[in-house]
């Protein structure tokens, strides 16, 4: 399992394809919001959380759709399936790769976000990181589970967001509201149901993926 995780990370590090693309897309989304809403500084605080998550969701759809693309070339997926790895572990490895990739993207995006929307990260940074990590795991888990299903359809890339976005809505609601609160200076302990929802969704999505992944693979 670690070998699979390592292989994918090395592939990304060598090719340097996905991360720059994600970063540019994320910045584009932020910039489009910046000039289309023409926010005054005092309003920026009210919308910044939502805008950040729109950028993350857009980029995640691109990144997650590629999960099994590299395995498809040269039918690597068949090699993967004949390996003595159980199906749940393949899911966990792919989930880890996607999460790491998205977190790297977010680490690059956050400074730009802070700059454009005049958000002071400083003291709120640990809380913000916790919320972003929790949200990212849920997004990556749902995306990883359905990436293969989307590839199996005629419309390919178009289908993945249609499948996962509705499922991710509860997570996104909690993430946006939590981000808003954390940026406003509230501590993680005050998030209440939002925090429960973030963690609950993560647990549910990872468990569901781990248990159901074998069914989306050809046997």
């Amino acid at each position: 399992m670690l070998a699979l995780l390592w292989k994918d990370l090395v592939l990304e590090a060598r090719s340097r394809e996905t991360l720059p693309a994600l970063f540019v897309l994320g910045v584009l989304v932020l910039v489009v919001f910046d000039f289309s809403l023409a926010l005054r500084p005092e309003d920026a605080g009210r919308f910044a959380g939502g805008i950040l998550w729109v950028a993350i969701v857009f980029a995640s759809v691109l990144a997650l759709g590629r999960t099994f693309l590299i395995e498809r070339e040269n039918s690597c997926i068949e090699g993967l399936l004949t390996s003595p790895l159980d199906r749940g572990s393949i899911f966990l490895a792919k989930l880890a790769v996607n999460t790491i990739l998205l977190l790297a993207f977010e680490a690059l995006l956050l400074p730009v976000f802070a700059l454009l929307f005049d958000v002071s990260l400083g003291a709120n940074l640990p809380g913000l990181i916790a919320v972003v990590v929790a949200g990212t795991i849920g997004i990556a888990a749902t995306g990883t589970l359905f990436a293969l299903a989307a590839l199996g359809t005629r419309a390919r890339e178009m289908v993945l967001p249609l499948l996962v976005l509705p499922l991710q809505i509860p997570l996104l609601i909690a993430a946006v509201q939590s981000t808003q609160m954390v940026l406003g200076g509230s501590g993680l302990a005050t998030l209440g149901m939002r925090g429960d929802l973030l963690i609950g969704f993560d647990i549910l999505a990872v468990t569901a993926g781990w248990m159901l992944f074998e069914f989306v693979l050809v046997d």
Binding site: T153, P166, L167, I173
Partner: protein, 230 residues
């Protein structure tokens, strides 16, 4: 098992729907007293609430049938889930439609960012993506499995959707199980029960019909496959 269920529903439900439906309409328009605060518009309640309830029922059936399909790999369960989502989507649309009409007269707006309204919209979107997946993956033999996984995750997700939308404020009334809900006349309760019966019979009937159609379509595909092979 599904065979027998389908046959019984198709025998029992159709004769019930028309008389019960007429009784329900008659009760709503001529018999129940007009509610004090909302006036006439409250009468849409008798069809709005049953539609929402059977919609949850249909999505529940879809989730359970999908689990059964992944365990047994019998096409019948897949058809049962597919039929339940199709029918559930119809009733979700009716719920949103009647709710929106009612909201327009009672609240003065067709739509608000209210928690229950948002819940239903999200459910509608989740199961709309199920039907889209079935269309896009039609020529893939893995399609039933993808769809089953989506239906299971979608159903498990319902409590989280409800939890998340509670974060919004609500003006949607809580009527059932609430002493101050406004149901203060026994005639209102009877009218609601009759409407529930109509919707239950209707949802089962439509489900069985759609199920029968999907099973015939599946058999036809097998036959064509055989003929092409021969």
């Amino acid at each position: 098992m599904i065979d027998i269920l389908q046959r019984w529903i198709l025998r029992l439900a159709p004769p019930l729907v028309l008389p019960l439906g007429l009784a329900s309409l008659a009760a709503i328009f001529f018999w129940v007293p007009t509610e004090k605060t909302l006036g006439l518009s409250q009468r849409i309640f008798y069809w709005h609430v049953p539609a929402a309830t059977v919609c949850y029922l249909a999505f529940g059936i879809a989730g359970l049938s999908s689990i059964a399909y992944l365990r047994t790999r019998r096409a019948d369960w897949d058809h049962a889930a597919h039929a339940a989502v199709s029918v559930g989507m119809m009733f979700a649309t009716i719920t949103i439609g009647t709710g929106s009409i009612w909201a327009h007269t009672a609240w003065g707006a067709w739509w608000t960012g209210d928690s229950r309204l948002t819940t239903f919209l999200i459910l509608w979107l989740i199961f709309a993506s199920y039907l889209l997946l079935r269309i896009f993956a039609r020529d893939n033999e893995m399609a039933p499995r993808y769809a089953a996984v989506l239906a299971i995750v979608g159903t498990v997700n319902i409590p989280l959707v409800i939890m998340a939308t509670r974060l919004f404020r609500t003006i949607h009334p809580q009527v059932i199980n609430n002493p101050q809900g406004g149901i203060d006349d026994p005639r209102m309760v009877y009218a609601l029960l009759v409407s529930f019966a109509v919707y239950l019979a209707l949802v089962l009937w439509l489900w069985a019909l759609k199920l029968a159609q999907l099973r015939i379509a599946g058999r036809l595909e097998l036959l064509e496959g055989d003929r092409n092979a021969a």
